[in-house]
Structures are given as structure tokens and as C-alpha cells.
Symmetry: C2
Subunit: 259 residues, 2 copies
DNA sequence: GACCACAGTTCCACAACATGGAACAGGACG
DNA sequence: CGTCCTGTTCCATGTTGTGGAACTGTGGTC
């Protein structure tokens, strides 16, 4: 619950305590009462009171109608200015870079926007022959591994109508796509094998958001010959990274830890 | 040498100063250097240094690769957990309530999701005969005043194809919709007069986001007979509220302030 | 209406803590 | 190798934060 109170360096006691209070409020995303905060911080009532007042004055905290404390205007100002997936990208970047190093292929991160799937980040392959920049390019969801993740985990409804054919192996029947989704879910990762472009293989896994829903897909792509024998290994690798990322999204901030 | 230091109550100097630093960083949504912050706060180098270190430790600030300060993990944690328009709704609620009182009609707030327009908040009419709860209901954008706002201000592309007809007066030609948009922009507010449902009139205005783009539409709707003679008055009223809301979104928190 | 219980704020004397100047360390130039 | 510029650490000083206790205000109970 409450993040461990940091060990203050010298000369920052007040600020450290104040930061701990804010942190407590933000981490608990429900409003916290004065008593909760006093207890969580272990400070004297008077100190708590003065501090909360200062934080409120500074826009870091705010009181809801019942008088409990919630994150203040600075937080919603920030949230209003930044796309939610900006944070996702930020959190995901290190993982994507590691995946890039481990697989040497191009790494993708996608989210859904409306009924479409858009890429929000990419780390390029080490090879000359690799997938180019897909960011913001529209790829039909049923042809990419990224898109299939959303279908398979129900983050996107499978269309009722016939789907566009891009290659001989593209799945065009909704029913077939649904079946592919079932297999995908069992397997834990989605794969596209020349269904988007002949010779292009992709593998992708779901990323769970704070509430357990699938908010993004993490995957790699590259030439089929380089990938076809490593699908299992890649799928497992992606899964473990995605899981870590999910944990991050669930709320634990990446502090301390040996870099 | 104290430009805009907060008025501290007794015994909260350090926290007030710290909050001011965080506030400076969040308001300037570009990274700020140590020097910027030292200058903006008017504190001694040593104090600034200690304070920034404490704030960083507490997750309120963070350093980008170049060493400049940006909002810390607590902020992105918050952003990741809260929809961006949750803040919008929050900020808009008071205005919507006042509009409801002033017009006695149902008040709506919409945003675009993909190419669709969805309602995110509503304040109900005082009358028995009024618009019902539209939240999350799909209304074709070209038939509602809310939707027309997005077309008129270019937040949504006007479709190339013929549009669905819901009533005899529904605009179905893209060209006509574009023309309607021009008139709308000149006028300052969008109107739908029985184009969605016979006898239903709606008026809506744009809400500008932090970067000046149209992020939402604010409007009212009700039975035509009650509204048709008050369109001007309503449009003006909505505009002034929307403008205030826009100012809020632009970043000035609703605190004290001489101005 | 008088009573008490509880939540939060203000008061105050004390000294612990934050403070800023100066010295120090680490780059980035030339 | 010196100079400049940025940020951190040191340290004596006294300002500022501290917690206990007194106070205020609100709600509940008889």
C-alpha cells in the first residue's frame, strides 16, 4: 500500500515527508482521509495538518466534497496534456530495447484507437532487411500479429463482414479469425505468417493495463526465414517482458533497483 | 530577489517552495534545467539542489537523459490510471451545471473517439420533456450539434460518402455539411434543428484544449419549440462558458489569483 | 439543550532542520 | 593545462519545522 518512507538525506526532512504524503494519495487511487494519511505517515497531527494544507495550497493535493484528499490540480493538468499511452511508451521503451537486443528484430508496440490498431512505438531491427517504420501507418488489424492480439483477447470485436485479402494466406473469414483467436489465446502469443505481406512474419503478445484489461500489444516482426524456427522462443521472451510491463502499469513505480 | 514565491503560512516554507518547483515543472510542459528552476524559484543553488534531489527521490520529479527536470513517476502513474477526459469532465462539471440552471435544458459534453463522437457527461433538463441520457450512445455525428462542432472546426474529417438520413432535414451531402461547417464557424456555434430527430433542437460550441485545438464540444438540446427563439442567446451563453473552460484547460489552476 | 466524543486546527517553546555562502568536484571547451 | 560553467557537498548559523497540548467545531446521544 503505502510506499515505504524514503530515507531522507540530510536537510530535506519536510520535503521528503510531504512527497511521501503525495505518493500515498496517488498510489491509493481512492480518496484518503486525514486520519488515513496521518496514520500512514506516522506524523503528529499538527505536522500532518500543516503539511497537507501546504500541499493543497501548492496544487499537489485537493480535497473532495467529503474532505478527503485526492490528487490535486497539477496531476489533472498533467493528465489532460499527455496522452495516456505516452506513459505506456515511456514505460515500455526499456523493455522494447531489450527485446530488440535479444531478438535483433524490429519491435512494435500498438494500442487500439477506436476500432483501429495504431503503432505507438517502434525499435528498429539491427538488420538491413527489416520492417520499416510503421508508426501511425494503418495496417489492417486482422493481418498483423499486433492486431490479432486485440481480436484474440477481446479488446476489439471481430468484424461481421468479410475481411480484406492482402496475401494468399490472409485470413478473410470472421469465423476463421475467431478460431485463430482461440488458438492464439491458448498459445499465449499471436503470429502472422505472410498474411500481411509475403515473407513477413510477426509475433505479438498482450499487455495488461492497470485494471487487467488488454491495453496494448507488444510484438516483433521480420523476414520469415529469420523467424520461423524461433517462434516459440520469441513468444516466450515477449510474454515475459509483457508481463513485467503489465506489472509496471499496475502501479509499482520503477524506483531503486540496480540499473 | 523573490519574484513569485508563494505566500507561506507559518512553518511550511520548505514544502511551499518544493510545491512551487513541481508546479513550475508541470506547467512548463518542456523539460526545465537546473538553472531554469533555480532562477524561477529564486533559491540558493544549494537549496535548489537539495530540494530537487528530494523531489526526485519522492517520485514527483524526474530527470530526462539530458539531466533536465520533468514531471515524475507519480504523474505518469496518475495519467495512466485516469482517462484524459475524466479531467475534462471534472473541470467542465461546474460550468455544465450553471448552463443547466441558466437554460433549464439538458447539457452535453462530447469528445471524439476515433472517428466517432461520444458523450462523456450530461446534466439533465429541468423539464419532464427533455433529452434523455445520451452518454455512450452513438449518435451519427453529422446529425447532432455536438458532432457538427467537430466537423466545423476540423477536429473530424468530413466523410467523402453520402451520409445517413434520419429525418427529412438531415444533411446527407458531404458538400452541404462542409458548407454548414463554414456557417457554423462564422456564427461561433453549431445548431441542429430536427436533423437528428424531428422536434429536437441542439446547440453546441467548441472547447479548446491546452494547445488550442478543439478537444470537446459543449452543448444543450431540447424540444424545438422551447429553443428556437433563443438560439442566439444560448449560443452566446455557451460560448462564454466554453471559453472559460478552455482557459482552465490551458493550465491556470482555479486558485486564488488577483486577476 | 446539555453533554461527550471525535476530527482537525492553532498555539507555543524548543531545538532540529533547512538555509545559503563558500569550497569542492566534474565536465566541456579552447 | 587552464578557464569557465554546472551542480553537489560542507558547515556554522538561526530560521523554520516540530509535536504536545490547548482549542474549535461538528455530529451524535440521551
Amino acid at each position: 500500500m503505502a510506499p515505504s518512507v524514503e530515507q531522507s538525506a540530510t536537510g530535506t526532512q519536510a520535503v521528503d515527508r510531504a512527497a511521501a504524503l503525495v505518493s500515498t494519495v496517488v498510489h491509493a487511487d481512492a480518496p484518503l482521509s486525514f486520519a488515513d494519511l496521518q496514520e500512514a505517515s506516522g506524523l503528529a497531527k499538527s505536522t500532518t495538518s500543516r503539511m497537507l494544507a501546504a500541499l493543497e495550497r501548492g496544487g499537489l493535493l485537493e480535497r473532495d466534497p467529503e474532505g478527503s484528499y485526492v490528487a490535486g490540480s497539477l496531476f489533472w493538468l498533467y493528465a489532460a496534456r499527455h496522452d495516456p499511452w505516452e506513459e505506456l511508451v515511456r514505460l515500455a521503451r526499456p523493455a522494447m530495447e531489450r527485446i530488440g537486443e535479444e531478438t535483433s528484430e524490429t519491435v512494435h508496440l500498438s494500442v487500439t484507437r477506436g476500432e483501429k490498431v495504431v503503432q505507438v512505438a517502434q525499435v528498429d531491427s539491427r538488420y538491413l532487411l527489416g520492417t520499416r517504420d510503421w508508426t501511425e501507418i494503418d495496417v489492417p488489424a486482422h493481418t498483423s500479429a499486433l492486431g490479432k492480439v486485440f481480436y484474440a483477447w477481446g479488446a476489439l470485436p471481430v468484424p461481421a463482414h468479410e475481411l480484406e485479402r492482402l496475401t494468399p494466406t490472409t485470413i478473410t473469414e470472421p469465423e476463421a479469425l475467431r478460431h485463430d483467436g482461440i488458438r492464439t489465446r491458448k498459445r499465449g502469443w499471436a503470429v502472422t505468417d505472410g498474411e500481411l505481406e509475403v515473407g513477413l512474419t510477426g509475433v505479438a503478445v498482450p499487455v495488461q493495463g492497470a485494471r487487467g484489461d488488454v491495453v496494448a500489444a507488444l510484438g516483433i516482426s521480420g523476414p520469415t526465414p529469420r523467424l520461423e524456427d524461433r517462434l516459440d522462443e520469441i513468444g516466450t521472451n515477449l510474454s515475459s517482458h509483457a508481463e513485467q510491463l503489465s506489472r509496471l502499469l499496475r502501479g509499482r513505480a520503477p524506483k531503486e533497483g540496480v540499473a
